[in-house]
Structure formats: C-alpha cells, structure tokens
C-alpha cells in the first residue's frame, strides 16, 4: 500500500523510538535494537521524553487524545536523522497516520516531515544498513510472524524474513496462512475477546505445526498475543522480538 520508498545512504546517527509496549513490557527488544544499530557504527539517540505514538487512542476513535499524545513526540526528533521504530504498527502510525492526524493544524508540516523520516527496524537494517550477520547460534528452525501493519500498512512483508535468512544456522520455516492476522488488533482483543481468542489460537497452532523451535515477530503486540496464548496452554514454543533474536545469535 505504501509507495516505493527511496532509501537514504547509511547515516551516522539515528533516533530510536522505543514504543510504549517495548518500554514497559519488552525493554530488552528495544535495547537489542539499539545494540544492533550501534554495532553498525551508528550513533543512536534515545530521547528520554518519548512515551507513546498515540495509536491505541487513534484506532479506538479518540483522535483528539491521540493527537495530543502524538504532538508530545513531535519535538523530540529535531535533527535530520532517521527515526527507527522496532514495530510495524507504531511505525505505520507515525509514517501513515501522523500526516492525516495533523492535517489542517499548525503542526501539519512538522508531522509530515517527521513521518518521512520514520523507518521500521527491519526495513532500516535491510535497506539502509545492508546488514550482514555472523550467526553463532546452534542450528534451529524459526518461524516469523510479520505483523499486519508491517506487512500491509508499511509494505514490509519481506524484510524480517530476509534478515532471518542471513543467519547461517537458522532454517526459516513458514506457518500455514502466514499472512493472516494473529487477532491482536489493540482494543479489538478486549472488545471482541472470543473472536480474537479464536484467531490467536489458530495462529499459535499454525506456528507449532510448522515445526519451528522458536518464533519471532517484529511487533510486541503480536508477541504479547501469540506468546501469551502459547504460554496459556503451556506450549514449549516460545517467541521473541526479532531484534533480540538477531542480537542473541550474533553477539
């Protein structure tokens, strides 16, 4: 859905927008994102005043609340450097919806400019860093669940799997109906718990059936949902954010 993006050359500096879910529940994923970028010789600036992109309120229909929260992020990235977001869903919010959210307000130009500097982490590692990986882990099979926002809103169905394929000892296996939603959808999981529950059950069964030793995702919403479902029924299959997986196997 996204237009073809022309990627810039590798910068010296980037900003990291850690996302609220990573901040509070999966901070290691954020730190591992930072480590991966630093290892590429890129200075990573993490503005300490960042909180949330505003998406939860936006998709629930509370746009003025979402706008105020988004506005609080607009001034945190004043330099010309790319803003790296280790989440397709928050990245999609900032890249696609910020310009709409601020349309007609005095911050429209600022929001649009910021949106143009937003990159999802795997997108940045593949298309800008041209990352190479030296896999030090034991041979194993891994499955990837790409979030719907990364896949459809940001058009990044391939960047996550592309990184996994650069790990020499890892075999990427694909689950049945890989492109189908895991059923998270933010407040959808709470407003329609039974439908969401049926979706995440199907997704977790498909991941198990793929014969993966491990699954990774690039979005912590999906991770919380699928991982939570698997843990709920004491499955041995565990998941983690792709940044942590890549860092763990190559450090």
């Amino acid at each position: 859905m996204t237009a073809v993006k022309l990627y810039p050359p590798r910068p010296d500096k980037v900003y990291l927008f850690g996302t609220c879910l990573i901040d509070m529940l999966y901070p290691e994923a954020g730190l591992d994102s930072l480590r991966l970028l630093e290892r590429e010789g890129i200075e990573v600036i993490y503005p300490q005043d960042q909180t949330c992109c505003g998406q939860p309120a936006y998709t629930s229909g509370y746009h003025s609340e979402a706008r105020e929260v988004a506005r609080a992020q607009l001034d945190l990235f004043p330099g010309p450097w790319p803003i790296i977001v280790p989440s397709g869903s928050c990245g999609g919010m900032m890249r696609t919806h910020y310009p709409d959210l601020f349309a007609g307000t005095e911050d429209e130009a600022k929001a649009t400019e910021l949106a143009s500097r937003v990159f999802e982490l795997t997108e940045f590692l593949v298309h800008v860093c041209h990352l190479t990986l030296d896999d030090r882990g034991a041979p194993e099979k891994v499955a990837m669940h790409t979030s719907c926002s990364a896949r459809r809103e940001m058009g990044l169905a391939d960047t996550g799997p592309a990184l996994l394929q650069r790990l020499g000892h890892v075999e990427l296996v694909e689950q049945e109906r890989a492109s189908e939603c895991c059923g998270f959808g933010g407040t959808f999981a709470v407003r329609h718990p039974e439908v969401s529950g049926a979706m995440v059950e199907d997704k977790s069964r498909a991941l198990e059936a793929a014969g993966a030793d491990h699954f990774v995702t690039s979005d912590c919403g999906c991770l919380m949902n699928i991982g939570g479902r698997l843990a709920h029924r004491d499955s041995s299959l565990k998941g983690e954010h792709i940044a942590s997986y890549l860092w763990r196997r190559t450090s």
């Binding site: 926002s149 896949r151 492109s179 959808g185 407003r191 718990p193 995440v200 939570g228």
Partner: protein, 476 residues
C-alpha cells in the same frame, strides 16, 4: 415460507459470534470456502498487473461518484429514451411500494427473482408477500436460503454457510428431492423445479451490477442463466439497484467486470453477462414487454455528503473483503445480523441502520488491512472503520446516524488519563518505575484477555532505564 426470517440482528453480534465460534460445522464450512475463494482469486490475477487494474477500477468509480447527480440524470434520460421506465425511491419502503404497485398493475400473483442484495436490504419478498404476491428466488444459493427460511450469509454466495449434506437435507425436506451427495443431481433437481416457475412468473425482479449512463444500459453479471431467464421470460422486468451503481461510459464496464469476477470467485468471465437496453421491440419474438428501473437511495446520498465516507460508495459488491477477512471467516455472515456482512457491511450498514443498532460492527476488526489490500476499487476499508469508531465515541456531531452512541464518561476519562500520562514524560517514567517495582503484584487475570492468554508482566526496568544504564556502562 417466503418471508425472510430475521433471526440475526447486529445488536446481538457478540452472542451470535459466540454461537458461531462454538459451531464446528459453521467454522469448517467458512474456513474451507474462504480458503478456496482466496486461492482462486490469487490464481485469477496471477498474470495481471493487479495494482494498475485496481487503480483503474478505483478511478472509474471515483469519476462516476464525482459526477453522480449528473450521471443519474443522464442514465434516466437514456433509459427512458430506450423505453425503460425509471423510478426514484428515497428509501427501501418506497421502493417496495413502487415494485408492488407495478406488480399489481399487471395483476401479478407471482414474481421470480434474480439475485439482488438491494432487494434483501429492503426485505422486498416480505413486502410482496404482504400484498399477496409470491416471490421466488431463482439464484441457486438464494433459492436454498429461501427454502431454509434464512437470509444470505455472503453477498455473492448466499448459501456458503451450508455444506452438501445440509443442502441435501433442505432439498429433501422442502421439495421432496431424494437425498444425495451428488451436487450435479441436486443442481439438476433445483433447475427442474425452477424452470416451471420462470415460465409461470408474472414479473421478473433483478438487481443491477453496472448502470451505464451514456447508453442507458443495465449490466447484470451471473453464472446460472437465472438472471437471463428472470429478465427475459416474464412479461415485465423490474430492475432494482442503489443509486451508486451508475458508471459513466460503456467502456468503464470492461475493467470493472474484469475486477469483479476475478475478485469475487476467481473467474475470468462469468457464464452469463447480460446487457439490458430496452423492452421487447416491435417485431421481436421474446423479451419483456415492459422494463422498469427502480433507483434506491436509502441513506446513500447522506454518505455522499461526506468526502471521506463517500469512498464507501465505490463498492462493486464482489465480496473479496469478506473472503479475506479473518473475522468473517471465523464467525460467518449471519453473525453480523445485517444484509451486507463482513468488512463492507461494517462500513456500510451503520449508514443504512444507524450506529445505535450497528455499533459493534466497526470494532469487530483487528484492522489487519486484508480487506483494503484486496478491494478491487481500493476502498480504504480500515480507515473507514476507524472513522466510524470515531463517530461512535465522538460528541455526536457526525455525518452518521446515531453518532456518539458509544460515548461513555468512563471510557473518555480513561483515555484522558492516558493522554495526561503520555504527555507528561516525568510522570510516564515514574509510572513505569512503579509498575516495574511492583511487578510481583501485577494481576494475573485481566478480564477477557487472560481467558485465552497469560497476562503480560511489566518489566523490572523500562527501556528508558535500560538505555540510561547502557550509556553509563559505555562511558565507564
């Protein structure tokens, strides 16, 4: 038997979803059917530049909508010039009354129907029955649904919720057909049963896929020949459609048709494509003596007033959004309790029925975007779902009937608190510090979430803290 039995309502979405999810037969029927339809669509577009074609389709629909009032007048003038009588109905009730009146003028006691979702939308069969006129559905799926006293569960495949055994039972119980698993035998039986009725019907009622303004032509897409029989065998043909179905040029039809059939069923062409341009002319031996076109508004012109919601009217009714929707696939069409189910239903029905009745539909989506990705005319369905959510929880000053119906003080207060926290970075960091310190006390039960999943636990240290620590280590 002909009355559409409304056992499903949008107000009962949650209960109906629960029942569907607990029904393994429904689950299996839809999963299998939707998997098949997705595969066929993919295959059908495999050697096409799909993005270019979708953009072309979107542009054709947008151009038609941008000139809608003019095109409707042009359509009317050209139809009338062709001998097709045009009627305007503000709502479904008016349309039903008009159709009933035309039937009564001809002393009709029986109507044969081709597939028409607009006629479902206005419960035409029930209205006709009240006037003592029997309406029989002739599309095979519609016929089965009618025999079973149900409503369609899909806009293209009305009986997709039924499997072979269930169909065999229905045919046996309602028509005395011998029980069989042989699909061809059942189809042949239905064909024989319907054949008589086409010949005996006083009036044929059909829908319209595309109404061409420049030529006054009504296009009808179908596979069974029942559309052609309906529109040619009885002495009177009444076509009924929503005002948004108009296209400007005859040349606009080809790309839309190519998109429609491939998106809907994965067919390159349908078995029948009818172009109806006039009643029987002098010297012709067949065709109806009268053709009527009933153009129904039913809330569409209200949608038309809003630049964003307007996109809803681009729809060409292919059903691809349902076929690809993970929610529709799980709960089936009846769960929505509306004439149009699935994603298109969730963005259209609030306008037709009001948000009060349909408030659970726009939220019944994970916003995964599969619908928008496959829509042949590029309707931004996820954006429209968000828009309707906004209308539902907003201050009630919206373009949608029932706006503000979901607004609750409690929820507004919760979002305002969240807003305060997320706009005060010190408080935000403090909150995650507290959450991390007391993570042992974090609840293991979080309402509906933990019925299916473990509860997420706050991390000991937030990312803010971890990065500060990381910097210190780097500096030392």
């Amino acid at each position: 038997m002909n009355q559409p039995v409304q056992t499903f309502t949008p107000q009962a979405f949650h209960q109906q979803a629960h029942a569907a999810l607990e029904n393994p037969q429904i689950r299996a029927n839809f999963r299998k059917a939707m998997d098949g339809l997705m595969g066929k669509r993919r295959e059908a577009f495999s050697d096409w530049d799909l993005e270019t074609l979708r953009q072309l389709g979107a542009n054709i629909r947008l151009r038609a909508l941008s000139k809608l009032p003019d095109l409707l007048e042009q359509l009317e003038a050209n139809c009338e010039a062709n001998g097709i009588r045009v009627h305007w109905a503000e709502n479904g009730e008016q349309a039903c009354a008009m159709i009933t009146e035309i039937c009564q003028q001809h002393g009709a006691s029986s109507v044969i129907k081709g597939k028409s979702m607009v006629s479902e939308e206005m419960h035409l069969n029930a209205h006709l029955e009240q006037a003592g006129i029997e309406a029989l559905e002739s599309d095979l799926g519609e016929y089965l649904v009618q025999l079973n006293e149900q409503t369609p569960s899909h806009i293209i495949m009305p009986a997709i919720h039924l499997n072979t055994d269930e169909i065999s039972d229905i045919m046996h119980d309602r028509t005395g057909t011998e029980r069989t698993r042989d699909v061809d035998a059942m189809t042949a039986a239905a064909r024989a049963q319907l054949r008589e009725r086409f010949m005996a019907a006083d009036v044929g009622v059909s829908g319209v896929n595309f109404a061409v303004a420049e030529t006054g032509t009504l296009c009808l897409v179908e596979n069974e020949g029942n559309g052609r029989m309906t529109t040619t065998a009885p002495p009177v043909h009444i076509a009924v459609t929503g005002i948004e179905k108009v296209v400007e040029h005859l040349a606009d039809v080809a790309p839309l048709y190519a998109l429609l059939t491939r998106s809907a069923t994965g067919q390159h062409v349908t078995t029948y494509f009818n172009m109806i341009s006039s009643p029987r002319k002098a010297g012709e031996h067949d065709g109806p003596k009268e053709v009527h076109l009933v153009l129904v508004d039913s809330g569409r012109s209200r949608i038309y007033q809003d630049d964003e919601l307007l996109d809803t009217l681009r729809c060409i009714r292919c059903g691809a959004c349902m076929n690809h929707c993970p929610v529709y696939t799980r709960v089936g069409g009846h769960t929505y309790g509306t004439t149009y189910p699935g994603p298109i239903g969730a963005i259209l029905m609030p306008h037709l029925m009001g948000l009060e009745a349909t408030k659970d539909l726009p939220s019944a989506s994970s916003l995964c975007g599969a619908c928008g990705e496959v829509c042949p005319v590029k309707i931004p369905i996820p954006d429209l779902l968000v828009r309707l959510r906004r209308e539902a929880v907003g201050d009630g000053v919206g373009n949608v009937p029932g706006a503000g119906v979901k607004r609750s003080r409690k929820e507004v207060a919760a979002w305002k608190s969240w807003q305060w926290l997320a706009t005060h970075p010190n408080a935000w960091r403090g909150a995650s510090l507290i959450a991390g310190s007391f993570r042992g006390l974090a609840p293991s039960h979080l309402g509906p979430w933990t019925e299916y999943r473990t509860a997420p636990k706050p991390a000991k240290s937030s990312l803010h803290t971890l990065i500060k620590r990381h910097r210190k280590e780097q500096d030392s």
